[in-house]
């Protein structure tokens, strides 16, 4: 009688996939080319950038916190990597990607210190860190787009393809798999939701909650930096504010994927679905020739409807 249910994806996590399929079917009614391999492969490539960011955001949101420093960790990592490549020194160029990722981890740890040790609400602390990173970037570049270029490796990450499958998508899936394994196999995943639900009870169970918080923010920083490296590879440059349009879609994707913004409940698999849904929605709305104003209104409405449906379905259980 006392059995443990196999960890099947929850309905919460499957919901956005259903939404994504409906979007494709609905969209193909008006634009048959949506069902084409080229279009779908392109969507997977674009989704990968948001997808990598959203994985990091999921970990932090599961914890009951939020990381608002995504935009400038992303931009910072892009600036660092392109500048190192642009320096012309082969040793520095080779260090471009590791340096950018290290930068992300370091900012993540700074975020973790503020939240776990100084006990400053993550929403405020990470916003402040984001603002300071912006300042440092502007000081360094004088407010102009930084000089530099992407390395072949970065370009490959962003735009290459592997037997027809975009490399960016493969990277996204690989990171998802690695993180899913980490969350499932180690105590870390259990601790994340436990802290998200009740930090006090978790601490009183003898868990070193600050280390878990450090690790979570470091992972989020790493993901933001990886997103920055990939985007820089995509655009073959870094530019000011390149991360700004990503912050809110990242959070929206996590929440649509069934992760509670209050922490505790949620899954990576749901977030992947949320990312696919948001990417497809954005793309289909831009294919439809309507004004920006209406596109924004419809985007907002559909997000609200998705969340309402999630809430209603959960309540009816």
């Amino acid at each position: 009688m006392n059995t443990i249910k196999q960890n099947l994806p929850s309905p919460d996590a499957l919901f956005p996939y259903l939404g994504a399929v409906l979007l494709i079917l609905g969209g193909s009614y008006f634009f048959p080319q949506i069902l084409g391999v080229d279009y779908l492969a392109q969507q997977l490539q674009i989704a990968a950038f948001l997808g990598v960011l959203a994985l990091g955001a999921t970990v932090v949101i599961l914890l009951g916190h939020i990381d608002l420093s995504v935009p400038w960790v992303l931009a910072g990592a892009a600036i660092i990597s392109t500048s190192l490549v642009g320096s012309g020194n082969p040793a520095l160029a080779a260090a471009a990607i590791p340096a950018a990722l290290l930068f992300g981890v370091l900012v993540g740890i700074v975020n973790g210190v503020g939240v776990a040790i100084l006990r400053i609400p993550s929403m405020v602390w990470t916003l402040a860190v984001n603002s300071m990173l912006l300042g440092v970037a502007v000081l360094n570049t004088g407010g102009f787009n930084p000089k530099g270029e992407a390395s072949p490796a970065m370009t490959l990450l962003a735009t290459g393809d592997l037997a027809g499958i975009p490399v960016a998508f493969v990277v996204w899936m690989a990171v998802t798999g690695a993180m899913a394994l980490l969350l499932k196999r180690s105590g870390f995943g259990r601790y994340l939701s436990a802290i998200g639900y009740n930090e006090k009870a978790t601490f009183l169970s003898g868990v070193s909650t600050p280390s878990v918080i450090f690790a979570a923010f470091a992972i989020a920083g790493l993901c933001s930096a990886l997103g920055g490296v990939m985007l820089a590879g995509y655009a073959n440059q870094a530019y000011q504010s390149m991360g700004d349009p990503f912050l809110l879609p990242t959070i929206a994707a996590v929440v649509i994927g069934g992760t509670s913004i209050l922490g505790g409940r949620g899954s990576l698999i749901g977030t992947v679905g949320g990312v696919l849904f948001i990417t497809l929605l954005t793309s289909i709305l831009s294919v439809m020739q309507i004004t920006d104003a209406w596109r924004n209104i419809i985007f907002g409405l559909i997000i609200i409807v998705m969340l309402l449906l999630q809430t209603l379905r959960r309540k009816s259980q």
Binding site: N2, G187, A201, F203, L204, S205, G264
Partner: protein, 508 residues
């Protein structure tokens, strides 16, 4: 007793069904004015459902509720309050982030739409002064109050609502004997004014001293109502559980004062809350900490578990001096200390998570233990007879007693050498209590040293091998063997000498 002629509230054929669980089945029940009516039953017997129906929190699935002889639908707690049905819930219903004053005014008669009725604050202060709560500051945040202080505020809040029927659900569970007596004096005064009181408690001696009539509930059915005194303890208990429980407490083995020391603290102090505490915990012994609330008993447990900063004194575990600074260090098998905290809902458990997830949280990451293997918890769950659908059920859906079983079991798989328990039977039904007592004794017999803080002096007397009584952060008396008596505990709690032993206490 001038019991009113007509019932204030009456249930006729009331049933309440949650999903597949029948919480109440076809209950007829009346409460009259001018009478203290105790409701007894195990957790899950339907008492809380009964209270919630009368307080307007939930509506019956079938059957009628009559208030003042008219069939009424109580659609909300506010609706019930307007009709004079005021409930003080077991689940403390104060808003933690508001001050005491704000909480008292919240929902008070005459408050609303931007109007605050401040007069209730004055009368609440009068009430608090009568129940030893006079020192509670009106501007204090409720979150900063102790559990006992919160209960005192709850009581004051309920009484300022001018109830016709006052419903008290485990109203005194965190209070100590002397405060409880004062609360009872107030309740009796209300009764004498013609107010009906519905009283739920798991402490028999409280019911015996307070109730006029007693109703027994079992498995959602109203078993019997009788005058207080009509039956003795054991008859009442057997009516509640449907079977006879001969002994609430397991037999005590002979004390062994020379047993191996597991943990010793000497001159343990912390700010002005703890002064010069010295306690020795031995293998196989259950040591009790008693006294009025907030005298430092709880802080001793927290200090030993590494939760307090800036403690002084010597702590020796297994013969090795240690400084414990973190729960993770305390639970390490080298020390083997476990703490079951006072508030199982916010500190001991994660209510939204499943039983299995809660069980593994303490053992995760400990070498040599596969925390996610549920079979390592099964023997303890079986011994405690945990009632659940499956281990995937969220802990929040369990009754209080079953929740406490989970909170205890999650530590047992670690095989602790020393268990620290903060009032583990607070608000728990009799049957679960006996199961927990039996388990604690078995653990002790297997060599675990147990330190137990209790607000129920019966536990100190019958369960513990020895007891330390606290007063203002100091141990004022160390009782062993036959000296652990109700009189001695109460006297020490109030820091007054025992009548018969005046000279001895004066010397000490």
């Amino acid at each position: 007793m001038s019991r009113s002629e007509h019932p204030i509230a009456r249930l006729r054929g009331v049933s309440k069904i949650y999903g597949t669980t029948q919480a109440l089945s076809d209950v007829d029940f009346s409460c009259f004015g001018g009478e203290i009516h105790a409701v007894l039953g195990e957790n899950g017997a339907g008492k809380s459902t009964l209270m919630k129906l009368l307080a307007g929190v939930i509506q019956p699935t079938s059957g009628d509720i009559e208030v003042n002889n008219a069939v009424t639908r109580l659609t909300s707690p506010a609706d019930a309050m307007v009709r004079g049905l005021v409930c003080m819930f077991q689940e403390l219903s104060l808003v933690p982030d508001l001050s005491v004053r704000e909480n008292l005014m919240l929902g008070a008669v005459g408050t609303g739409l931007g109007r605050l009725n401040a007069s209730v604050v004055r009368s609440a202060q009068d009430i608090l002064a009568q129940i030893d709560g006079g020192a509670i500051g009106m501007k204090t945040r409720v979150a900063d109050l102790s559990l006992a202080e919160r209960q005192q505020v709850e009581i004051a809040k309920a009484l300022t609502r001018n109830p016709k029927l006052l419903i008290l659900d485990e109203a005194t569970s965190a209070l100590n004997a002397s405060v409880v007596e004062k609360v009872f004096r107030l309740i009796r005064a209300e009764r004498d004014r013609g107010v009906g009181v519905l009283f739920i408690s798991h402490r028999f001696h409280e019911i015996e001293s307070l109730a006029d009539r007693i109703s027994i509930f079992r498995n959602g059915a109203h078993v019997e109502t009788f005058d207080n005194g009509a039956y003795d303890y054991s008859a009442i208990i057997s009516k509640m559980v449907g079977q006879r429980i001969d002994d609430l407490f397991p037999p005590k083995p002979p004390a062994n004062p020379d047993a191996e020391e597991v943990l010793r603290v000497d001159g343990f102090s912390w700010t002005d809350k703890l002064r010069d505490i010295s306690i020795v915990l031995r293998k196989g012994q259950i040591t009790g900490l008693g006294g009025l609330d907030g005298q430092g008993q709880g802080s001793v447990l927290q200090g030993l578990f590494g939760l307090l900063k800036g403690t002084e004194g010597r702590c020796v575990v297994g013969g090795i001096p240690v400084t414990i600074t973190h729960p993770k260090q305390a639970k390490n098998p080298k020390l083997g200390i476990a703490l079951v905290p006072e508030d199982r809902k916010t500190e001991g458990l994660i209510l939204q998570q499943s039983i299995a997830r809660n069980l593994e949280l303490a053992a995760l990451g400990t070498d040599g233990i596969d925390a996610s293997d549920v079979t390592i918890y099964q023997p303890f769950l079986d011994a405690l007879e945990l009632k659940c659908r499956s281990l995937d059920q969220p802990v929040g859906e369990l009754s209080g007693g079953n929740q406490q079983k989970v909170a205890l079991t999650k530590w047992l798989a670690l095989g602790p050498r020393c268990m620290l328990l903060a009032d583990p039977t607070r608000g728990i039904d009799v049957k679960t209590k006996t199961q927990i007592y039996a388990l604690l004794r078995r653990l002790a017999d297997s060599g675990v040293a147990i330190l137990l803080v209790s607000t129920d002096y019966e536990e100190l007397i019958h369960l513990c091998d020895e007891a330390h009584i606290f007063y203002q952060g100091r141990i004022v008396r160390h009782l062993t063997g036959n000296d652990v008596t109700a009189e001695a505990i109460i006297a020490a709690s109030l820091n007054i000498p025992l009548p018969a032993q005046t000279s001895e206490a004066a010397n000490g």
